[in-house]
């Protein structure tokens, strides 16, 4: 009885534990149950899946270079952890640079387009056309112009994240409420004031939505870039490591690299998600468009 009471008492306290990075994950904070009851099912599912995989690997006898067991992947990761961390670091920093560039140029470009209807009308069609060109098609040109290596990789990541950033921001800048625009007109605001004090703050939810898309794409862009323009000598990122591992049939390490890439992508997304929440803290949830 006493034990029960203690357990009941501990319940609400547990609920107060806050993991800011995790709060953005689907519905986890909406379930209303304790952290335990919302984390338990996916953890159990993971254990069952990994355990099943391991068991299947042992029983079926499929060789590790075709389907490595989870323990093989772990072992490959630990054995090559210096290379793995180097690759993750390399990919991460390229993705971060590419992402930051796409944010800066995407937002600046959108502000430029939105500051004049004439400029927007004459350039936006080309922006849309450029956006539809698959990155793989222009990647070789980028390599020709900038040489294989980090420059080309960052530029590929930048290009892939740039267009969603640009179009999201542009939509946001053009969706300012009419009443507020009239208000600024009536109080004689000049176009620069209207841009900085009204249109940009009003576009913030759209810009934030763009950030979330672009950060994911930047990681994909870098890995794709490393496939095409990666260079070796311990300087290659995950994309390069994956191509090398594949050519050498180091399937377990390949899996480890893939796993590292997705963990990195999720981590990047969660960080951006957290920053986004901070950026939008003065917006009411119901007033966020995304």
């Amino acid at each position: 009885m006493a034990m029960d009471k203690k357990a009941l008492y501990l319940g609400p306290a547990k609920r107060r534990i806050r993991l800011p990075f995790l709060s953005g994950l689907s519905g986890m904070n909406r379930t209303g149950g304790s952290l335990l009851s919302s984390l338990l099912p996916p953890v159990v599912a993971l254990i069952v899946f990994v355990g099943g995989w391991q068991l299947f690997g042992i029983l079926s006898g499929i060789p590790a270079y075709i389907l490595p067991k989870p323990t093989d992947i772990l072992e490959a990761g630990i054995k090559n952890h210096v290379n793995l961390f180097n690759s993750v670091y390399k990919t991460m920093s390229s993705a971060l640079i590419g992402f930051i560039l796409s944010v800066i140029f995407g937002v600046a470009g959108a502000i430029l387009l939105a500051s004049s209807k004439l400029v927007e009308k004459s350039l936006y069609p080309y922006v849309i056309i450029l956006q539809t060109i698959p990155i793989i098609a222009i990647a070789p040109i980028i390599v020709i112009w900038f040489g294989a290596g980090t420059n080309a990789i960052v530029i590929i990541a930048f290009l892939i994240g740039f267009f969603p950033m640009l179009s999201n921001t542009l939509v946001g800048l053009n969706s300012t409420e009419n009443n507020l625009k009239n208000l600024f007109f009536l109080y004689n605001a000049n176009p620069i004031q209207t841009m900085w004090k009204l249109r940009i703050p009003a576009a913030l939810p759209y810009i934030v939505a763009g950030l979330k898309i672009s950060c994911t794409l930047a990681v994909i862009g870098v890995i794709a870039g490393e496939y095409i323009a990666g260079i070796g000598g311990g300087k290659g990122g995950l994309g390069y490591a994956i191509t090398v591992a594949a050519s050498r049939l180091q399937t377990a390490y390949l899996f480890a690299c893939g796993l590292a890439a997705s963990v990195m992508g999720i981590g990047f997304y969660l960080v951006i998600n957290y920053i986004s929440k901070k950026l939008l803290s003065s917006w009411h949830e119901s007033e966020m468009k995304h």
Partner: protein
């Protein structure tokens, strides 16, 4: 014909407005509004009341006739920073604090921060919200948002205040207390001229010195009803026979329109 006197603030002569799609919104409106008046505009929906306000502020241009504010064109008058506005929607920036919202007209004119704060304190006190400076609009009730919106309009000490159905979305009790506060602010020195659009005949009679009754589209002025009751008018005015009589007169004109 109207006679323009020295203290005529807004003069409309044979004013017409046809929208590009052919809608005749306002037809042959003649009105002279003198300094210190409280004019209410009543009329059926779509009769062109908001259109008149948009022309006064320069958001729309009239297609015929003459429209003078402070003896100049609407665009020149707006540049004087002596016209202020309150819309039905509070039009507060959701990301900005009450203080930032209220200071907007001064901020856009480059007034010093110190003076902005002093003025914000003055107008927020006028509307009874001095403690909300650092709050965000979402933390306020509908009535409080409208008060902030009124405070923002008052901060530039306007000579002309335009209000387009400002209390339309509020409940009756809030509406009545805001009416009283507005009158209180206006009647202190009556240096501010108020033009006020409403659908509510009671509100029009309670507030104004003159009620402009408009006809259904195309909007013309059916009549201008003078409300001679002196100020200050308290809540007691709402229950006098005089009040009922005036409400009756305005309603009668509305029906004939």
């Amino acid at each position: 014909m109207s006679t323009i006197t020295a203290n005529t603030l807004v003069a409309m002569q044979h004013l017409n407005k046809v929208y590009p799609n052919g809608t005749v919104a306002v037809q042959n409106v003649n009105l002279d509004i003198s300094e210190g008046e409280f004019f209410c505009f009543v009329g059926p929906s779509g009769c062109g009341k908001s259109t008149i306000f948009k022309m006064i502020t320069g958001l729309e241009t009239h297609t015929e006739g003459k429209l003078d504010i402070f003896g100049m064109s609407p665009n020149a008058a707006r540049k004087k920073n002596e016209v202020a506005f309150v819309f039905q929607d509070h039009t507060l920036m959701p990301w900005a604090t009450v203080k930032e919202n209220v200071c907007l007209p001064l901020n856009l004119r480059g007034v010093s921060k110190k003076q902005q704060i002093e003025e914000a304190e003055r107008v927020l006190e006028l509307v009874g919200l001095q403690d909300t400076m650092m709050m965000l609009p979402r933390e306020l009730s509908g009535g409080m948002k409208m008060r902030v919106s009124i405070a923002r309009a008052l901060i530039s000490r306007p000579r002309l205040l335009l209000m387009d159905e400002p209390f339309g979305a509020l409940d009756e009790i809030t509406r009545q207390s805001l009416q009283q506060e507005l009158l209180h602010i206006w009647q202190q020195d009556r240096s501010m001229t108020v033009l006020f659009i409403t659908h509510n005949v009671f509100e029009a009679v309670y507030l104004s010195t003159k009620v402009v009754v408009m006809t259904p589209r195309p909007g013309k002025v059916e009549s201008v009803v003078e409300i001679p009751t002196p100020f200050p008018r308290g809540d007691a005015f709402r229950t006098t026979p005089e009040f009922s009589r005036l409400v009756g007169v305005v309603s009668q004109h509305l029906k004939h329109g």
